[in-house]
Symmetry: C2
Subunit: 331 residues, 2 copies
DNA sequence: ATTAAAAATGAGAACGTTTTCAATGGAGGA
DNA sequence: TCCTCCATTGAAAACGTTCTCATTTTTAAT
């Protein structure tokens, strides 16, 4: 039904090769020719078929943003939204389009058609694992890992200074005199989880405190879970005077639990979050947190992936975007 | 480099037609054959090429989610995130993948390759316009419009009961005795803006109040703008006792302005939002708002678009998902 | 055992481009 | 005017599938 390059060729009297060139590489064609071709194309309402083009060129100019399923729903996730946005912008700027899918699409049962081939490369975000990366590699698919650090040859991982951020947060609390500090940690990927956890432990050790396991909890990173967890922790007779929450959503939940228990923030309880999500400056009191440069993470991931697609050899590297303490009202 | 259907055919001794069937329609092939084919495929690390498949079938099993640019950044937008998520889930469930792009991709200058052809249909979200829809139609592209109502033949629009929601919100305020009610309205699409605005005016008329233009403001829907706007409105000597904000982000900004001005919520000022975004139950006090069924919007849009793709004739219709008042602590 | 019907398989065209290689035409230099 | 060279154009192969149609094999019925 839709017109093809052949229709245009017939109408303007050139061969399809020339029509193709008029669109794909106009510099190879006379100005006069180009005009005639475009005119015919307009008359026929013709647009080059991206699929046919991809077929012969062997590339689609598409990038896949793959969300690791355990982390579903991801777009809702205030941490990933800005990253995603940044990836989208960078891709658009470089002429790539963006494909979204969950890891499910990549692990279809034996033989099912797989989305893979419609992408020139993949950004693997979230709780990715080495096996998945290797599988993709076996299909010659360039991969970049986002917000995780995996031990795979020639693999680029973009993450942030998890450990440094945790140190920053904890030292901020200890500098304000806190010694009994709780930890409410989200069950993130091992990389994220352990780095932040280690930061917590190491700072406590620095000030000579032992780790009281009643003050250390791991939960699903939702505000509801955090509220529940925090109200239990805060009802202990010797409750902590500050709590380090490993993301802002958890911190918000903790904050609500504290306010409902009649505690004043920061006078009775200090709370510090992680990520500097949108929400952290929307609540009252505003949340002190560790800023992660999400825009940079997305941008770097997209840029480096595109570089790989365009021929740059991949090399094993972990890029850590810098973190920054944002002091607001909750500490 | 990567192996093709022909390699598999050679290895397992069948023709490529049979290999193709083993993957695309296994029921047309003996169990024994299927196993042999799969085995060969696994040995060769073969996956069907989605592009070649799309080429010959004339469909890609991809759906485009197109973000109308004025609304950038969209994924960050707490209103669109859950819709997007719902679309993603529905698509995955029906075997479609999701493509993201801004309207810029669709309006490339004459002749540029266009992403269009890689999608079987498009969900146009945000401030879409009739022209764009017609352009897509001319290319035989099925379209569904989300969160807008456009007057185009045979076009399905999914929106929510904007006017009803505004009535609900305003009557909730008047029932609690408020007569001087402010409006802080976001500059959304005409459909959304005027419906909500009309609801505001009509309820004021019902109770015999005239509309005081000092209490009616239109702003960019950010918390910062809202804060600024609200603090001006609240500094008027005869300030309103309640404010209807046309989305939750605006409501949060208004809330912050009120708290900073030393007003108690809801005793000194009632605030009601619109959308029931995630954030509305994370702030303290929790926000009274009008719930929009975003999951339903996304699901319906995806389902109906897919139905159209699969042959159902499109018909002109505006589907309004129901709204619901969620009374929390801010009123 | 024979035959009709049904199921499984194979051959090859088709999908709409890009690209290589060859051919053509025109400009500029002798 | 002739020749060389370069820019422009055309012919046709190639990309990796699906699907139609024809052929072969299997199944079921007599």
């Amino acid at each position: 039904m839709a017109s093809t390059i052949l229709d245009v060729a017939r109408l303007c009297g050139y061969s399809k090769a020339t029509v193709s060139r008029a669109f794909a590489s106009p510099e190879q064609v006379t100005e006069k020719t180009r005009q005639k071709v475009y005119e015919a194309a307009r008359a026929l309402n013709y647009t080059p078929d991206a699929i046919a083009r991809a077929m012969v060129r062997g590339r689609t100019d598409n990038i896949g943003f793959v969300i690791y399923e355990k982390q579903y729903p991801v777009v809702l996730n205030p941490f990933y939204s800005p990253i995603f946005e940044s990836v989208l912008q960078t891709c658009a700027h470089k002429g790539y389009s963006l494909f979204i899918s969950s890891d499910r699409d990549l692990r279809l049962p034996n033989g099912q058609t797989c989305v893979k081939k419609q992408m020139d490369g993949i950004i693997l975000a979230g709780q990715s694992d080495a096996q998945m990366v290797m599988d993709l590699r076996r299909q010659n698919m360039p991969v970049v890992v986002l917000n995780n650090a995996l031990d795979v040859d020639d693999l680029l991982c973009i993450t942030t200074d998890q450990y440094g951020g945790a140190l920053l947060a904890m030292r901020h609390l200890t500098e304000r005199g806190h010694r009994k500090i709780g930890l409410i940690a989200g069950a993130f990927s091992p990389h994220v989880y352990t780095s932040r956890y280690n930061g917590y432990c190491d700072v406590l050790r620095e000030i000579g405190e032992t780790i009281d396991l009643r003050f250390v909890q791991t939960i699903d990173p939702t505000a509801e879970q955090a509220m529940q967890c925090a109200s239990m922790m805060l009802s202990l007779p010797d409750r902590p005077t500050a709590i380090f929450c490993t993301n802002d959503t958890i911190a918000i939940g903790t904050m609500k639990a504290a306010l409902r228990a009649g505690l004043r923030i920061p006078q009775d309880l200090s709370i510090i979050g992680f990520d500097d999500s949108e929400i952290s400056h929307l609540v009252e009191p505003e949340l002190t947190t560790v800023r992660v440069d999400k825009a940079a993470m997305g941008r770097i991931a997209a840029e480096r992936l595109i570089a790989q697609i365009e021929g740059e050899p991949p090399q094993k590297q972990v890029i850590q975007t810098p973190i920054e303490l944002v002091v607001r009202q909750s500490t």
